[in-house]
């Protein structure tokens, strides 16, 4: 296929993938919540409640859009887009399988983390621009939370990059081919703390995407709906979709960095299905964690980052660099 045609196909594919995931992860979330609480969850709207996201979408799209009096209309309308767009753009460099990648950029990993921090800005200006005290409190919380969790996350990623010696996601996956003992999680010769690094990355991913138990942005019992308080209809819907798209990106990055991308655990028949299986397993774990743990206190959240995660990931970084120097 010609280059413009290929890019167009990828553009449509990526947007469809992101939107479908955002819609149906809500269904997974609600169904999962139901079963974790010994309920059934949505079941009457379509078979197994599968039409539920469509009904929600129609409802949200036809709902009145309110821009509160005194709000900064430009920032207010821009914020949901600024959460959604970086997530979709990040899909460009994600290699789903050999050759199934829109653009292979040799600093792909760097690009994803650069765009991930733009999403935080989206929530910040959403809370700030809506002229709502809960929104402003939530915006302040989101920023301090994301600063706190960006540090251990990036330290962990630097550790991985030091081992793989590249920012190129395709190359990172290709290094891990040939069975689960080659995956970065189990690369104990490079650093014995790699499983811990994966755990730290996962916890930071939860915090970065504002998922419970770290959902300080949308702490219902304290802050109404946090930064989203004043958003009605599709404004809120886009925020919601952006959150789920960010979770998908986080799961993709975790799969690529630690779980060997599209590699089969036993070393045969690699392909896009393995990538999707690993990705959805991580996403399922994210849902599972949400409905199992209660929301942490804000101080505990920051303490966990600054007192536990950052020292451990720093130690891991130093240990890895020492081992790399020695061997």
């Amino acid at each position: 296929m010609s280059e413009p045609g290929r890019l167009l196909a990828f553009l449509i594919g990526i947007i469809a993938f992101a939107a479908l995931n955002a819609a149906y992860l809500v269904w997974v979330e609600r169904k999962g919540a139901g079963h974790f609480q010994r309920r059934i969850g949505p079941k009457e709207v379509g078979p197994y409640g599968l039409l539920q996201p469509i009904a929600d979408g129609i409802k949200l799209m036809t709902k009145q859009l309110i821009v509160p009096e005194g709000a900064d209309a430009v920032l207010f309308k821009m914020a949901p887009i600024m959460v959604m767009v970086p997530a979709i753009v990040s899909f460009v460099t994600i290699p789903f399988a050999e050759g199934l990648q829109a653009r292979n950029i040799n600093i792909g990993l760097l690009m994803i983390f650069a765009f991930a921090s733009v999403a935080v800005l989206g929530i910040l200006i959403g809370g700030w621009g809506s002229r709502n005290k809960y929104g402003v409190i939530s915006a302040a919380r989101v920023v301090s939370q994301n600063i706190a969790y960006e540090v251990p996350m990036l330290l962990t990623v630097i550790t991985v990059v030091m081992i793989t010696r590249t920012f190129d996601l395709n190359a990172i996956v290709n290094q891990q081919m040939g069975g689960f003992w080659h995956w970065n999680v189990f690369r104990l010769t490079a650093s014995p703390l790699m499983p811990v690094a994966f755990l730290i990355f996962f916890v930071c991913m939860l915090a970065e995407t504002n998922r419970a138990p770290f959902d300080m942005a949308e702490a219902e019992s304290e802050l109404i709906a946090g930064a989203f308080t004043e958003y009605s209809g599709m404004g809120f819907g886009v925020f919601f979709m952006g959150e789920y798209a960010n979770i998908v990106i986080g799961a993709c990055v975790a799969t690529i960095l630690f779980l060997g991308g599209w590699d089969c655990p036993l070393g045969f028949l690699p392909g896009v299905h393995w990538f999707l299986i690993k990705m959805y397993l991580i996403i399922f774990t994210v849902v599972w964690v949400r409905w199992t743990f209660v929301r942490t206190q804000f101080y505990n959240l920051l303490n966990l980052s600054w007192k536990i995660l950052i020292p451990i990931s720093m130690f891991n970084l130093i240990l890895t660099s020492a081992l790399l120097k020695v061997f």
Partner: protein, 165 residues
């Protein structure tokens, strides 16, 4: 205020209207908002035994901007009435109201000659779509109320009606 007549649109798209109504009826997000003991029954409705989630109505949104139906669950005291009215005004259209329990319908057991603290019914404040009697109504009654509201929106009932007795 009482009930008000909303004029129907001049140009109508029958199929589109139907799809919109179906979408709205199947994702009625209530507001996290309880006034008195009826709210306990409302919580039970959302929990595992009765499971309001089956109809896609379990997404209790804490912000009035994102909720579609306001379940007035309990006694509206005169002090609370302005807050309830504000919440109703903050909800974006289209919005519906369910008055749950005798207090929200008419003041319930608190109505007597010379009472000064209670608003005698949610319909004194804003239009109400569905009234659910009971003190408090059982969770099944609230689910029936939600089904009744769906019938009001779409014009068709989800399941055939069962006659009591």
């Amino acid at each position: 205020m009482g009930t008000q007549d909303i004029p129907s649109a001049i140009v109508r798209f029958a199929a589109l209207d139907k799809i919109l109504a179906l979408g709205r009826a199947n994702s009625l997000w209530p507001m996290t908002f309880g006034l008195a003991c009826c709210a306990i029954e409302m919580m039970a409705t959302g929990a595992s035994r009765f499971d309001l989630a089956r109809f896609g109505a379990e997404v209790f949104r804490p912000s009035p901007r994102q909720s579609d139906v306001m379940i007035v669950a309990g006694t509206i005291s005169k002090k609370m009435a302005p807050a309830v009215l504000t919440l109703y005004d903050q909800m974006p259209e289209p919005k519906w109201v369910i008055a749950m329990g005798n207090c929200a319908i008419s003041g319930g057991p608190f109505v007597f000659k010379g009472q000064y603290g209670i608003v005698e019914g949610a319909d004194k404040l804003f239009p109400v779509d569905v009234f659910i009697p009971g003190c408090p109504p059982r969770p099944e009654a609230l689910i029936e109320g939600i089904l009744e509201l769906e019938e009001k929106i779409t014009g068709t009932r989800r399941w055939p009606r069962v006659k009591a007795g």
